[in-house]
Each structure stands twice: as C-alpha cells, then as structure tokens.
Symmetry: C2
Subunit: 140 residues, 2 copies
Amino acid sequence: MNVQEAMQRLKEKGFKHTDKREDMLELFSNEKRYLAAKDVLESMQDKYKGLSFDTIYRNLSVFTELGILESTELDGEKKFRFTCSTDHHHHHLICLDCGKTKHIDECPMDLFPVKKEGFHIVGHKFEVYGYCEQCEVQRP
Amino acid sequence: MNVQEAMQRLKEKGFKHTDKREDMLELFSNEKRYLAAKDVLESMQDKYKGLSFDTIYRNLSVFTELGILESTELDGEKKFRFTCSTDHHHHHLICLDCGKTKHIDECPMDLFPVKKEGFHIVGHKFEVYGYCEQCEVQRP
DNA sequence: ATATTTGCAAAACGTTTGCATACGG
DNA sequence: CCGTATGCAAACGTTTTGCAAATAT
C-alpha cells in the first residue's frame, strides 16, 4: 500500500481527490508510525491555515474504513498508521513516545490454544510497549 | 485480595473508611468482571441518591494506585476489575458485552522472544475479545 | 481538631454532529 | 450541475478539577 494505491482506492469507492487527503496520506506514508489526530493537524496546519479537527477526523475514519490506515488506542487516544503492506498477520512493538513501531511476526493466537469454553472469540490485541533509542535518551 | 484486605490496605495508606468505598469494593468483589465508571454509578445510585461521578472516579483512581483494582481500556472507556488474586502473571479473555473474563495462563512474552533491537521495553498487552454464552445469544 | 472525602459546578479532553458553503468530477 | 468535502459552531461522552461543606478518625 502506498499513497497512489490509497488514492486509487478512494476514487474507486466514490470519494473525491483533495489535496488535504493526499497530504494526509503522504504524512502517514512518510512517518510509518502511529499518529494521533492532533499530530496530523500539527503537521498540516502550516500549509492549510483553516484546517480543523473535523476534517482530520472525518478523513481518518474514511481511511480506516477502507483499510488504508489501521488504528489502535493508546493512552486514551486513537492513533493511526499506514496499514502495513505485509500480508502476514502480525503485531507491533510500539514506542510510547513517538509512535514508531517494529513488527512482531509471531502471533500468540497461533502459538498456544486459548481455551474458549463458551466464548465466541472475535478478536485479540497483542502489543508490546517501550521507548525507541531516540526517545529513550531524551526521556524525562 | 478480598474486600477486607482492600479496606485494610486503604487504612494502612491513610485513607479513610467510608461506606461508599466499601460498597464499591463489594461490587467489584461480587462481579469479578470489568466495569466502567457508569456501571458502578448505576449499581450504587439506588442506595446513594446524590452519588456522582467525581466520587466514583476518585475512588477508582485510589483503588488502582493501591493495586486493589486493575484497569484496561476498551472501546474508549476505562474499565476496572478486582485485581486477580492469582500471583501468576496472566492475561484475560474478555466479553465485549458484559466485561466477564476468563484467565489465559500463558503469556506471549514467555513463549517467544520479542526482538527488542534498541527498544527499551516497559510493558505489553495481550487480550482476547469475544462474547460469553449469555451475551452471545442476545446479541443484536 | 484536622485531614480526608464528598457533591456541586464547571471545565477539560478527544471526538462527533448538523448545517451552510465551497469545491471536485 | 450534482454530490462530496470542508469549516464553523456546537454538542457529545468520559474524565478531571477547584472549591466549600460534610464526615471520619
């Protein structure tokens, strides 16, 4: 998945091409890490003066519904990242400061059976948290 | 951990005994599942007419800081449950409807090495989500 | 007596919505 | 042109806060 493919998918689904959308996708494509809505706004409000949270949130929703972005909830905030191009199901090691990630290829659900006894399982979450080299050194 | 032990721990730390605190702990002790602040308020406002969210939230914080409750974030809400008495580190299978849980004794962190490369790891989260028997049948 | 706990009110925070206008195809 | 996208303002739900009154020890 890259910006071109993402814009193509938008077009196919009847969404329109706008510079803001393209720039949002560029941002995620460049950063390859988890960003909150406020991070997106911050990065873009130099170029787009009146840009507001509604537009950011609406586009984040659209992107996520189309599978262009994936999201997680960290510290009470929804965070988004470009969907990993790997088709292999995997998890992430996440920097709590900057949102940078590393892949974890193993999935716990494959490695041992969860005794479901009467539960209808619909999903799981496995994330490892830490601080990356850069953030670790400048931590308070 | 039971209600008596929890009240004892509060006392040791200089917190006062109040009926509301004891009843909150009774609730968690009886329910043994993840509850949101609003669930707690709902259960208690028959007995305590003027009871408000501030008190609930303040006490949830105190209980969590003292390790009496443990919390997770589900669907944008903080949810709390009585800390499992098991001393064995474990994870949970959680009903997305009622918050009921089952233990998962295995921890993915023990089962395979996460390649940390430069990350300073400080935590992890592994949760499996589903619907328990009761909630599954009455699902929309 | 004193410090903690509570209720009230208000605000914070991230997020979502209705509506009128602007803009892309 | 038509329908989508956007900005504005206002609301939302959850959680937090300052303050004065009530309560536990």
